[in-house]
Symmetry: C2
Subunit: 207 residues, 2 copies
Amino acid sequence: MDRAAETTAKIIAAATEVFSEAGFSGARVDEIAARSGVNKATIYYHIGNKKVLYGEVMHNVMGNLAMHLARDVKEAQTPEQRLKAYVRNFVATINLNPHLPPIIMRELASGGKNLPEVATKDMNAVVGILASILEDGATRGDFAVMSPFIVHAMILGAIILFKVSSPIRARIEVLPEELKGDRISPEVAAELERLALKMVREERQKD
Amino acid sequence: MDRAAETTAKIIAAATEVFSEAGFSGARVDEIAARSGVNKATIYYHIGNKKVLYGEVMHNVMGNLAMHLARDVKEAQTPEQRLKAYVRNFVATINLNPHLPPIIMRELASGGKNLPEVATKDMNAVVGILASILEDGATRGDFAVMSPFIVHAMILGAIILFKVSSPIRARIEVLPEELKGDRISPEVAAELERLALKMVREERQKD
DNA sequence: AACTAGTTTAACTAAACGGTTAGTATCGGC
DNA sequence: GCCGATACTAACCGTTTAGTTAAACTAGTT
Protein backbone atom coordinates (compact mmCIF):
# COMPACT_ATOMS: atom_id res chain seq x y z
CA MET A 1 0.00 0.00 0.00
CA ASP A 2 1.42 3.33 -0.97
CA ARG A 3 1.45 6.38 1.11
CA ALA A 4 -1.64 8.10 -0.18
CA ALA A 5 -3.72 4.96 0.13
CA GLU A 6 -2.48 4.41 3.66
CA THR A 7 -3.31 7.94 4.70
CA THR A 8 -6.71 7.75 3.04
CA ALA A 9 -7.49 4.51 4.83
CA LYS A 10 -6.63 6.07 8.18
CA ILE A 11 -8.87 9.00 7.41
CA ILE A 12 -11.80 6.82 6.37
CA ALA A 13 -11.47 4.64 9.44
CA ALA A 14 -11.48 7.61 11.79
CA ALA A 15 -14.30 9.26 9.92
CA THR A 16 -16.36 6.09 10.12
CA GLU A 17 -16.09 6.15 13.88
CA VAL A 18 -16.83 9.82 14.31
CA PHE A 19 -19.74 9.89 11.85
CA SER A 20 -21.13 6.78 13.50
CA GLU A 21 -20.99 8.44 16.91
CA ALA A 22 -22.06 11.93 16.08
CA GLY A 23 -23.75 11.91 12.69
CA PHE A 24 -22.80 14.19 9.82
CA SER A 25 -23.58 17.56 11.42
CA GLY A 26 -22.29 16.55 14.82
CA ALA A 27 -18.99 15.24 13.51
CA ARG A 28 -16.05 17.64 13.55
CA VAL A 29 -13.40 17.48 10.89
CA ASP A 30 -10.89 18.46 13.55
CA GLU A 31 -11.94 15.39 15.54
CA ILE A 32 -11.63 13.14 12.53
CA ALA A 33 -8.19 14.59 11.85
CA ALA A 34 -7.11 14.04 15.42
CA ARG A 35 -8.30 10.44 15.43
CA SER A 36 -6.67 9.63 12.13
CA GLY A 37 -3.40 11.18 13.24
CA VAL A 38 -3.13 13.53 10.30
CA ASN A 39 -3.44 17.25 9.90
CA LYS A 40 -6.86 18.48 8.91
CA ALA A 41 -5.61 19.93 5.64
CA THR A 42 -4.48 16.43 4.66
CA ILE A 43 -8.10 15.38 4.67
CA TYR A 44 -8.94 18.16 2.29
CA TYR A 45 -5.99 17.25 0.11
CA HIS A 46 -6.96 13.59 -0.19
CA ILE A 47 -10.71 13.66 0.08
CA GLY A 48 -12.04 17.08 -0.82
CA ASN A 49 -14.52 18.14 1.80
CA LYS A 50 -16.66 16.90 4.66
CA LYS A 51 -19.53 15.84 2.49
CA VAL A 52 -17.40 13.83 0.10
CA LEU A 53 -15.76 12.18 3.11
CA TYR A 54 -19.17 11.24 4.42
CA GLY A 55 -20.06 9.78 1.06
CA GLU A 56 -16.89 7.70 1.09
CA VAL A 57 -17.67 6.45 4.56
CA MET A 58 -21.18 5.51 3.58
CA HIS A 59 -20.03 3.75 0.48
CA ASN A 60 -17.41 1.94 2.49
CA VAL A 61 -19.60 0.94 5.40
CA MET A 62 -22.41 -0.33 3.28
CA GLY A 63 -20.14 -2.38 1.13
CA ASN A 64 -22.03 -4.63 -1.15
CA LEU A 65 -24.70 -5.93 1.12
CA ALA A 66 -26.74 -7.55 -1.57
CA MET A 67 -23.78 -9.31 -3.15
CA HIS A 68 -22.63 -10.94 0.10
CA LEU A 69 -26.19 -11.83 0.94
CA ALA A 70 -26.83 -13.38 -2.43
CA ARG A 71 -23.70 -15.53 -2.09
CA ASP A 72 -24.60 -16.77 1.38
CA VAL A 73 -28.18 -17.47 0.48
CA LYS A 74 -27.19 -19.25 -2.71
CA GLU A 75 -25.20 -21.84 -0.79
CA ALA A 76 -28.28 -23.00 1.08
CA GLN A 77 -30.45 -25.73 -0.33
CA THR A 78 -34.00 -25.21 0.84
CA PRO A 79 -36.06 -22.05 1.23
CA GLU A 80 -36.00 -22.59 4.98
CA GLN A 81 -32.23 -22.78 5.03
CA ARG A 82 -32.05 -19.79 2.75
CA LEU A 83 -34.24 -17.73 5.03
CA LYS A 84 -32.04 -18.68 7.96
CA ALA A 85 -29.01 -17.69 5.94
CA TYR A 86 -30.74 -14.40 5.18
CA VAL A 87 -31.14 -13.63 8.88
CA ARG A 88 -27.69 -14.90 9.75
CA ASN A 89 -26.08 -12.78 7.11
CA PHE A 90 -27.57 -9.59 8.51
CA VAL A 91 -26.62 -10.52 12.04
CA ALA A 92 -23.06 -11.26 10.97
CA THR A 93 -22.82 -8.10 8.90
CA ILE A 94 -23.91 -5.94 11.77
CA ASN A 95 -21.77 -7.70 14.34
CA LEU A 96 -18.79 -7.22 12.01
CA ASN A 97 -19.66 -3.66 11.24
CA PRO A 98 -21.00 -1.94 14.32
CA HIS A 99 -20.83 1.46 12.69
CA LEU A 100 -23.42 0.50 10.13
CA PRO A 101 -26.59 0.69 12.25
CA PRO A 102 -26.03 4.18 13.66
CA ILE A 103 -25.14 5.52 10.24
CA ILE A 104 -28.08 3.84 8.56
CA MET A 105 -30.48 4.95 11.23
CA ARG A 106 -29.50 8.56 11.01
CA GLU A 107 -29.78 8.41 7.27
CA LEU A 108 -33.20 6.87 7.49
CA ALA A 109 -34.18 9.46 10.08
CA SER A 110 -33.26 12.12 7.53
CA GLY A 111 -35.25 10.47 4.80
CA GLY A 112 -32.33 8.81 3.05
CA LYS A 113 -31.41 11.97 1.19
CA ASN A 114 -27.69 11.24 1.36
CA LEU A 115 -27.89 7.56 0.61
CA PRO A 116 -25.96 6.86 -2.54
CA GLU A 117 -27.91 5.50 -5.46
CA VAL A 118 -25.98 2.29 -5.11
CA ALA A 119 -27.42 1.86 -1.60
CA THR A 120 -30.94 2.14 -2.90
CA LYS A 121 -30.20 -0.41 -5.56
CA ASP A 122 -28.77 -2.66 -2.88
CA MET A 123 -31.93 -2.41 -0.82
CA ASN A 124 -33.96 -3.19 -3.90
CA ALA A 125 -31.81 -6.23 -4.48
CA VAL A 126 -31.96 -7.35 -0.84
CA VAL A 127 -35.74 -7.26 -0.82
CA GLY A 128 -35.65 -9.03 -4.15
CA ILE A 129 -33.57 -11.85 -2.70
CA LEU A 130 -36.02 -12.26 0.15
CA ALA A 131 -38.89 -12.17 -2.31
CA SER A 132 -37.46 -15.05 -4.26
CA ILE A 133 -36.88 -17.07 -1.08
CA LEU A 134 -40.47 -16.55 -0.02
CA GLU A 135 -41.78 -17.27 -3.50
CA ASP A 136 -39.83 -20.49 -3.74
CA GLY A 137 -41.07 -21.57 -0.32
CA ALA A 138 -44.64 -20.69 -1.27
CA THR A 139 -44.39 -22.69 -4.48
CA ARG A 140 -43.35 -25.70 -2.45
CA GLY A 141 -46.25 -25.15 -0.09
CA ASP A 142 -43.98 -24.55 2.91
CA PHE A 143 -44.36 -20.77 3.09
CA ALA A 144 -47.39 -18.57 3.07
CA VAL A 145 -47.76 -15.88 0.44
CA MET A 146 -46.71 -12.65 2.07
CA SER A 147 -45.12 -9.28 1.54
CA PRO A 148 -41.33 -9.50 1.32
CA PHE A 149 -40.93 -5.93 2.44
CA ILE A 150 -42.89 -6.40 5.65
CA VAL A 151 -40.94 -9.53 6.50
CA HIS A 152 -37.73 -7.69 5.70
CA ALA A 153 -38.76 -4.75 7.93
CA MET A 154 -39.45 -7.10 10.82
CA ILE A 155 -36.15 -8.91 10.52
CA LEU A 156 -33.91 -5.99 9.77
CA GLY A 157 -35.82 -3.65 12.06
CA ALA A 158 -35.32 -6.04 14.94
CA ILE A 159 -31.63 -6.57 14.21
CA ILE A 160 -30.89 -2.89 13.90
CA LEU A 161 -33.00 -1.91 16.88
CA PHE A 162 -31.42 -4.62 18.90
CA LYS A 163 -27.96 -3.47 18.03
CA VAL A 164 -28.40 0.21 18.73
CA SER A 165 -30.42 -0.29 21.86
CA SER A 166 -27.44 -1.88 23.56
CA PRO A 167 -26.72 1.01 25.97
CA ILE A 168 -30.40 1.32 26.80
CA ARG A 169 -30.85 -2.39 27.27
CA ALA A 170 -28.12 -2.21 29.85
CA ARG A 171 -30.42 0.10 31.79
CA ILE A 172 -33.50 -2.07 31.42
CA GLU A 173 -33.89 -4.38 34.35
CA VAL A 174 -34.82 -8.03 34.25
CA LEU A 175 -33.20 -8.83 30.92
CA PRO A 176 -31.43 -12.15 30.68
CA GLU A 177 -27.72 -12.14 30.02
CA GLU A 178 -27.91 -13.12 26.38
CA LEU A 179 -30.10 -10.06 25.76
CA LYS A 180 -27.47 -7.74 27.12
CA GLY A 181 -24.18 -6.81 25.60
CA ASP A 182 -23.18 -5.05 22.46
CA ARG A 183 -23.13 -7.98 20.05
CA ILE A 184 -26.10 -9.94 18.89
CA SER A 185 -25.48 -13.20 20.68
CA PRO A 186 -25.84 -16.60 18.99
CA GLU A 187 -28.90 -17.24 21.12
CA VAL A 188 -30.59 -14.08 19.97
CA ALA A 189 -29.60 -14.77 16.37
CA ALA A 190 -31.06 -18.27 16.62
CA GLU A 191 -34.29 -16.91 18.06
CA LEU A 192 -34.56 -14.36 15.25
CA GLU A 193 -34.09 -17.15 12.72
CA ARG A 194 -36.71 -19.27 14.43
CA LEU A 195 -39.21 -16.44 14.54
CA ALA A 196 -38.59 -15.47 10.92
CA LEU A 197 -39.35 -19.03 9.89
CA LYS A 198 -42.39 -19.16 12.08
CA MET A 199 -43.71 -16.00 10.50
CA VAL A 200 -43.44 -17.19 6.95
CA ARG A 201 -44.59 -20.76 7.35
CA GLU A 202 -47.82 -21.82 5.76
CA GLU A 203 -50.26 -22.20 8.57
CA ARG A 204 -51.22 -25.85 8.99
CA GLN A 205 -54.42 -25.13 10.79
CA LYS A 206 -56.83 -22.46 9.70
CA ASP A 207 -58.39 -20.34 12.40
CA MET B 1 -53.77 30.22 27.08
CA ASP B 2 -51.68 33.18 28.11
CA ARG B 3 -49.05 34.84 26.06
CA ALA B 4 -46.00 33.05 27.37
CA ALA B 5 -47.62 29.64 27.01
CA GLU B 6 -48.69 30.43 23.46
CA THR B 7 -45.20 31.54 22.45
CA THR B 8 -43.63 28.55 24.13
CA ALA B 9 -46.01 26.22 22.29
CA LYS B 10 -45.06 27.78 18.96
CA ILE B 11 -41.39 27.38 19.76
CA ILE B 12 -41.78 23.74 20.78
CA ALA B 13 -43.80 22.93 17.67
CA ALA B 14 -41.22 24.47 15.36
CA ALA B 15 -38.38 22.87 17.26
CA THR B 16 -40.03 19.48 17.01
CA GLU B 17 -40.10 19.79 13.23
CA VAL B 18 -36.56 21.02 12.87
CA PHE B 19 -35.03 18.53 15.31
CA SER B 20 -36.97 15.77 13.61
CA GLU B 21 -35.58 16.76 10.21
CA ALA B 22 -32.04 17.63 11.12
CA GLY B 23 -31.23 16.13 14.49
CA PHE B 24 -29.80 18.09 17.39
CA SER B 25 -26.49 19.16 15.85
CA GLY B 26 -27.98 19.80 12.45
CA ALA B 27 -30.82 21.93 13.73
CA ARG B 28 -30.25 25.68 13.71
CA VAL B 29 -31.75 27.85 16.40
CA ASP B 30 -32.16 30.55 13.76
CA GLU B 31 -34.25 28.11 11.73
CA ILE B 32 -36.37 27.19 14.71
CA ALA B 33 -36.90 30.86 15.43
CA ALA B 34 -37.89 31.56 11.83
CA ARG B 35 -40.37 28.69 11.78
CA SER B 36 -41.94 29.66 15.07
CA GLY B 37 -42.25 33.28 13.98
CA VAL B 38 -40.42 34.69 16.97
CA ASN B 39 -37.09 36.33 17.41
CA LYS B 40 -34.28 33.99 18.39
CA ALA B 41 -33.71 35.80 21.69
CA THR B 42 -37.28 34.94 22.64
CA ILE B 43 -36.34 31.30 22.60
CA TYR B 44 -33.50 31.98 25.01
CA TYR B 45 -35.81 34.04 27.16
CA HIS B 46 -38.47 31.33 27.46
CA ILE B 47 -36.51 28.14 27.18
CA GLY B 48 -32.89 28.76 28.11
CA ASN B 49 -30.68 27.16 25.50
CA LYS B 50 -30.65 24.71 22.63
CA LYS B 51 -30.11 21.67 24.77
CA VAL B 52 -32.95 22.47 27.14
CA LEU B 53 -35.17 23.05 24.12
CA TYR B 54 -34.24 19.65 22.79
CA GLY B 55 -35.06 18.12 26.14
CA GLU B 56 -38.47 19.77 26.07
CA VAL B 57 -39.12 18.48 22.58
CA MET B 58 -38.12 14.97 23.54
CA HIS B 59 -40.24 15.02 26.62
CA ASN B 60 -43.13 16.36 24.59
CA VAL B 61 -42.83 14.00 21.64
CA MET B 62 -42.48 10.91 23.74
CA GLY B 63 -45.43 11.78 25.93
CA ASN B 64 -46.43 8.95 28.12
CA LEU B 65 -46.13 6.03 25.78
CA ALA B 66 -46.50 3.40 28.44
CA MET B 67 -49.53 4.98 30.02
CA HIS B 68 -51.47 5.20 26.76
CA LEU B 69 -50.40 1.70 25.88
CA ALA B 70 -51.47 0.28 29.21
CA ARG B 71 -54.90 1.88 28.87
CA ASP B 72 -55.46 0.54 25.35
CA VAL B 73 -54.24 -2.92 26.23
CA LYS B 74 -56.30 -3.05 29.40
CA GLU B 75 -59.54 -2.62 27.49
CA ALA B 76 -58.94 -5.82 25.56
CA GLN B 77 -60.18 -9.14 26.91
CA THR B 78 -57.89 -11.91 25.73
CA PRO B 79 -54.12 -12.03 25.38
CA GLU B 80 -54.58 -12.20 21.61
CA GLN B 81 -56.69 -9.08 21.59
CA ARG B 82 -54.22 -7.41 23.89
CA LEU B 83 -51.32 -8.19 21.62
CA LYS B 84 -53.24 -6.77 18.71
CA ALA B 85 -53.98 -3.68 20.77
CA TYR B 86 -50.27 -3.49 21.55
CA VAL B 87 -49.37 -3.37 17.86
CA ARG B 88 -52.24 -1.07 17.01
CA ASN B 89 -51.25 1.37 19.71
CA PHE B 90 -47.75 1.75 18.34
CA VAL B 91 -49.00 2.16 14.79
CA ALA B 92 -51.48 4.81 15.89
CA THR B 93 -48.92 6.61 18.02
CA ILE B 94 -46.47 6.82 15.14
CA ASN B 95 -49.07 7.80 12.57
CA LEU B 96 -50.21 10.55 14.94
CA ASN B 97 -46.72 11.63 15.76
CA PRO B 98 -44.51 11.42 12.67
CA HIS B 99 -41.70 13.29 14.35
CA LEU B 100 -41.23 10.55 16.88
CA PRO B 101 -39.42 7.94 14.75
CA PRO B 102 -36.69 10.23 13.39
CA ILE B 103 -36.02 11.65 16.82
CA ILE B 104 -35.97 8.24 18.47
CA MET B 105 -33.77 6.78 15.78
CA ARG B 106 -31.18 9.47 16.07
CA GLU B 107 -31.20 9.10 19.81
CA LEU B 108 -30.75 5.37 19.53
CA ALA B 109 -28.00 5.90 16.99
CA SER B 110 -26.21 8.01 19.57
CA GLY B 111 -26.62 5.42 22.28
CA GLY B 112 -29.56 7.04 24.03
CA LYS B 113 -27.34 9.45 25.92
CA ASN B 114 -29.86 12.25 25.77
CA LEU B 115 -32.92 10.19 26.47
CA PRO B 116 -34.56 11.45 29.61
CA GLU B 117 -34.72 9.01 32.50
CA VAL B 118 -38.47 9.03 32.16
CA ALA B 119 -38.09 7.65 28.61
CA THR B 120 -36.03 4.72 29.85
CA LYS B 121 -38.60 4.01 32.50
CA ASP B 122 -41.26 4.12 29.81
CA MET B 123 -39.40 1.59 27.71
CA ASN B 124 -39.05 -0.61 30.75
CA ALA B 125 -42.78 -0.34 31.32
CA VAL B 126 -43.63 -0.98 27.65
CA VAL B 127 -41.61 -4.17 27.60
CA GLY B 128 -43.21 -5.06 30.92
CA ILE B 129 -46.67 -4.71 29.43
CA LEU B 130 -45.75 -6.99 26.56
CA ALA B 131 -44.20 -9.43 28.99
CA SER B 132 -47.43 -9.72 30.92
CA ILE B 133 -49.45 -10.21 27.72
CA LEU B 134 -47.13 -13.00 26.63
CA GLU B 135 -47.10 -14.55 30.07
CA ASP B 136 -50.85 -14.53 30.31
CA GLY B 137 -51.13 -16.11 26.87
CA ALA B 138 -48.56 -18.73 27.78
CA THR B 139 -50.39 -19.58 31.00
CA ARG B 140 -53.51 -20.21 28.93
CA GLY B 141 -51.54 -22.38 26.55
CA ASP B 142 -52.18 -20.09 23.58
CA PHE B 143 -48.75 -18.47 23.43
CA ALA B 144 -45.29 -19.95 23.47
CA VAL B 145 -42.81 -18.91 26.12
CA MET B 146 -40.57 -16.32 24.54
CA SER B 147 -38.51 -13.24 25.13
CA PRO B 148 -40.65 -10.10 25.38
CA PHE B 149 -37.78 -7.90 24.31
CA ILE B 150 -37.15 -9.78 21.08
CA VAL B 151 -40.83 -9.71 20.20
CA HIS B 152 -40.91 -6.02 21.04
CA ALA B 153 -37.88 -5.37 18.86
CA MET B 154 -39.48 -7.12 15.92
CA ILE B 155 -42.74 -5.24 16.23
CA LEU B 156 -41.39 -1.82 17.04
CA GLY B 157 -38.39 -2.22 14.78
CA ALA B 158 -40.68 -2.98 11.86
CA ILE B 159 -43.03 -0.10 12.62
CA ILE B 160 -40.25 2.43 12.99
CA LEU B 161 -38.31 1.17 10.00
CA PHE B 162 -41.45 1.15 7.95
CA LYS B 163 -42.24 4.70 8.88
CA VAL B 164 -38.85 6.23 8.25
CA SER B 165 -38.21 4.29 5.07
CA SER B 166 -41.10 6.05 3.37
CA PRO B 167 -38.96 8.19 1.01
CA ILE B 168 -36.80 5.18 0.15
CA ARG B 169 -39.76 2.90 -0.36
CA ALA B 170 -40.97 5.36 -2.91
CA ARG B 171 -37.80 4.59 -4.84
CA ILE B 172 -38.07 0.83 -4.50
CA GLU B 173 -39.81 -0.66 -7.46
CA VAL B 174 -42.45 -3.35 -7.44
CA LEU B 175 -44.00 -2.39 -4.13
CA PRO B 176 -47.79 -2.55 -3.93
CA GLU B 177 -49.68 0.63 -3.22
CA GLU B 178 -50.45 -0.06 0.40
CA LEU B 179 -46.74 -0.41 1.05
CA LYS B 180 -46.06 3.05 -0.27
CA GLY B 181 -46.97 6.34 1.31
CA ASP B 182 -46.01 8.05 4.48
CA ARG B 183 -48.56 6.55 6.81
CA ILE B 184 -48.73 2.97 7.94
CA SER B 185 -51.82 1.87 6.12
CA PRO B 186 -54.58 -0.20 7.75
CA GLU B 187 -53.54 -3.13 5.56
CA VAL B 188 -49.97 -2.99 6.76
CA ALA B 189 -51.10 -2.55 10.36
CA ALA B 190 -53.34 -5.59 10.05
CA GLU B 191 -50.50 -7.61 8.61
CA LEU B 192 -48.21 -6.61 11.44
CA GLU B 193 -50.87 -7.67 13.94
CA ARG B 194 -51.31 -10.98 12.18
CA LEU B 195 -47.57 -11.66 12.09
CA ALA B 196 -47.12 -10.68 15.72
CA LEU B 197 -49.78 -13.18 16.70
CA LYS B 198 -48.31 -15.83 14.49
CA MET B 199 -44.93 -15.34 16.09
CA VAL B 200 -46.11 -15.78 19.64
CA ARG B 201 -48.58 -18.61 19.18
CA GLU B 202 -47.84 -21.94 20.72
CA GLU B 203 -46.89 -24.18 17.87
CA ARG B 204 -49.57 -26.82 17.37
CA GLN B 205 -47.35 -29.21 15.54
CA LYS B 206 -43.83 -29.97 16.69
CA ASP B 207 -41.24 -30.23 13.97
C1' DA C 1 23.54 16.44 -4.29
C1' DA C 2 19.92 18.34 -7.04
C1' DC C 3 15.54 17.97 -8.82
C1' DT C 4 10.73 16.79 -8.95
C1' DA C 5 6.28 15.46 -7.69
C1' DG C 6 3.52 14.19 -4.20
C1' DT C 7 2.28 14.72 0.61
C1' DT C 8 1.76 17.02 4.88
C1' DT C 9 1.80 20.85 7.93
C1' DA C 10 1.09 25.21 11.05
C1' DA C 11 -1.12 29.08 10.68
C1' DC C 12 -4.77 31.43 8.99
C1' DT C 13 -9.63 32.90 7.24
C1' DA C 14 -14.56 33.93 6.44
C1' DA C 15 -18.68 32.37 7.67
C1' DA C 16 -21.68 30.19 10.76
C1' DC C 17 -23.15 29.20 15.23
C1' DG C 18 -25.33 29.52 19.95
C1' DG C 19 -25.95 32.87 22.90
C1' DT C 20 -26.21 37.98 24.80
C1' DT C 21 -27.35 42.86 25.31
C1' DA C 22 -29.67 47.11 25.48
C1' DG C 23 -33.71 48.75 24.19
C1' DT C 24 -38.69 48.51 23.07
C1' DA C 25 -43.43 46.74 23.47
C1' DT C 26 -47.24 44.91 26.03
C1' DC C 27 -50.10 44.12 29.88
C1' DG C 28 -52.45 44.73 34.19
C1' DG C 29 -52.88 47.19 38.45
C1' DC C 30 -53.27 51.48 40.71
C1' DG D 1 -51.27 58.15 32.79
C1' DC D 2 -47.63 55.91 35.37
C1' DC D 3 -45.27 52.00 36.90
C1' DG D 4 -43.34 47.47 37.23
C1' DA D 5 -43.10 43.06 35.41
C1' DT D 6 -43.04 40.31 31.59
C1' DA D 7 -42.30 39.46 26.84
C1' DC D 8 -40.00 40.48 22.62
C1' DT D 9 -36.62 42.53 19.36
C1' DA D 10 -32.52 44.10 16.25
C1' DA D 11 -28.06 44.17 16.62
C1' DC D 12 -24.23 42.34 18.41
C1' DC D 13 -20.60 39.03 20.39
C1' DG D 14 -17.10 35.42 21.12
C1' DT D 15 -16.28 30.97 19.77
C1' DT D 16 -16.27 27.37 16.59
C1' DT D 17 -16.33 25.45 12.13
C1' DA D 18 -15.11 23.93 7.42
C1' DG D 19 -12.00 25.11 4.46
C1' DT D 20 -7.45 27.52 2.57
C1' DT D 21 -2.60 28.81 1.87
C1' DA D 22 2.30 28.99 1.52
C1' DA D 23 5.88 26.59 3.14
C1' DA D 24 8.06 22.49 4.67
C1' DC D 25 8.70 17.66 4.25
C1' DT D 26 9.29 13.06 1.93
C1' DA D 27 10.64 9.78 -1.34
C1' DG D 28 12.17 8.51 -5.72
C1' DT D 29 15.00 9.45 -9.77
C1' DT D 30 18.92 11.15 -12.21
